[in-house]
């Protein structure tokens, strides 16, 4: 079973690179999946740009899962990417379909249901947090990303960002979170 061994080796290398934070591994995965994904999206009424966007998004999800330790290696990485792309693309198609039928267009409904409004407001707030994060210091931004997005432990963050120990990181994280909340309140 040489081919599977080969893929195992390649995937193991890629996983290792991503765990180490090497983003070049994503570029390699992108190149190896570009053609089949483009073909799939083209077959499903999408454009080349759609294919690029969805593929990039699936790679980010893979990155996120590997980084926060929630990725389970059950199939080849390419298989995972292909499945993620299919899910993402079908979601988008559904979204497009709804938009074209005017289901969730808030301006098309004079009295939209509270749940839809809440969802929109929540989405808007999330985007505001994202924007607010860009306004705080680089160290705080990195620390919050490592803790909340990549879900790294305090010890790992201390090593990555050069803090003395986990307690220092914990104190710094508290300050950074407060800084983010202040930035958010300024944007609101």
């Amino acid at each position: 079973m040489k081919p599977s061994l080969f893929f195992l080796t390649t995937d193991a290398k890629t996983l290792d690179l991503i765990r180490k934070g090497d983003e070049e591994a994503l570029v390699t995965l992108y190149e190896s999946n570009r053609k089949p994904i483009a073909a799939y999206i083209a077959r499903n009424s999408g454009t080349t740009e759609d294919a690029q966007d969805v593929l990039q998004e699936s790679l980010v999800i893979l990155w996120e899962r590997i980084r926060n330790g929630r990725f389970e290696y059950r199939a080849q990485l390419n298989t995972f990417i292909y499945a993620t792309v299919k899910n993402l693309w079908s979601q988008r198609l559904r979204q497009k379909k709804r938009l074209s039928s005017g289901e969730i267009d808030p301006e098309a409904h004079e009295d939209p249901s509270p749940s839809i409004l809440d969802a929109l407001i929540a989405t808007e707030r999330v985007e505001m947090v994202r924007d607010a994060l860009e306004t705080i210091g680089e160290q705080c931004r990195r620390l919050l990303l490592l803790f909340y997005w990549e879900e790294q432990s305090m010890e790992e963050i201390a090593v990555r960002l050069g803090f003395a120990n986990a307690d220092t990181v914990k104190a710094k994280k508290y300050q950074c979170k407060k800084a983010l909340e202040r930035a958010l309140s300024r944007l609101q």
């Binding site: 983003e23 992108y30 990039q56 998004e57 999800i61 996120e64 919050l144 990303l145």
Partner: protein, 367 residues
Amino acid sequence: MSESNNIHWTENEELLEQFVLGRLESAEVVELEKHLQECDQCRKVVTSERELIAGIRLAGRGSVKRRLAQRLEQRKAHSPNWYRVAGVAAGIVLLVTVGVHNGWFVGTETQMEKRNRTDKTEKLAEPTPAVSPERQAANVEKPSGDAARRSVGEEQQKVQGLAAGAPKAAGAESGKLAEAQVDKLKDLKAADAGREGESREKKDRIAASTVASALVTTWLQGTVISERDQNAPAPAEMAANAKDERAVLRKEKAVNQFAGKTSKEVAGGKADQNFIISQKPNTDLPPTQRAQQQRGFSVQALLQKIPTGTQITVYLDSLLTKKEFDQTRVQRIGEDSIIMNLGSRLVGYKLPPDWNAQGVQQPRKEK
């Protein structure tokens, strides 16, 4: 779970964070959620915390996606445009096809062919086997002294200027020969100009060397001025010591007669350093030159312009001994005449007009 029983457990930020991040035990989660259903304020805090974390994660995904896009752009910018490459390749193939069809590359020669052609050119420049090919090659390939310092262009110009004058002075045959050589060399040079991949400098050097050795070659018919006894002292010695007045007078008279110069001027002449002398048996002469050489009264010589000066090859009925050859001197008489003591004979040669030996080095002799 005392805190979970608290009506505002969300005030405990660590617990709130653990709850939102899903890091609590399921039983604990159930208890906290039960409280959330009753507490509107706590629900708002949890929602706010969830939005905050969702916003941070959105930013994280966005930053990775942005960096990935940048990397892909960079790679795209550095990778070759295969459509363009294919277009250029197709163009080259088309050009080669058309070229082969029209015979553009027929004249292309290999390095070996080029070397052979250069050899042929050198041979062509040599009207008779006057100088050995090795000797000539050495002269062509190893210019030294002033000649080496001269630029190729200057040398070529000078040589061509001399070549233009040479046929006038030389005999009709040598003039024709020189003209033919000039034409052939012009053709060769024209062909050279069209060659690809050959450096200009190299071409100029080859052409200049070839022209130098080819165009400035002329036959001279030497007149035997005097002939002395084998046992008598050499004329140079006689003149230097002034012991044999008669011999000196005879020499001066002969020189004056030959060169039309005064005895004083002749006496003031000295061995010319520009000449490199060599000797060959007159059986090596080409038939036309052999016919002109009257036995005992004339000595044919081949005069060649070489980068290091002038080479004169005398064709003798009997070759000089080493001692005699060592004593051989060329003495310049005015601008256009030389005399040579070839063993027991003193031979005078009239040089072509404008002949001016350059690129002087120490005189060398070759047997």
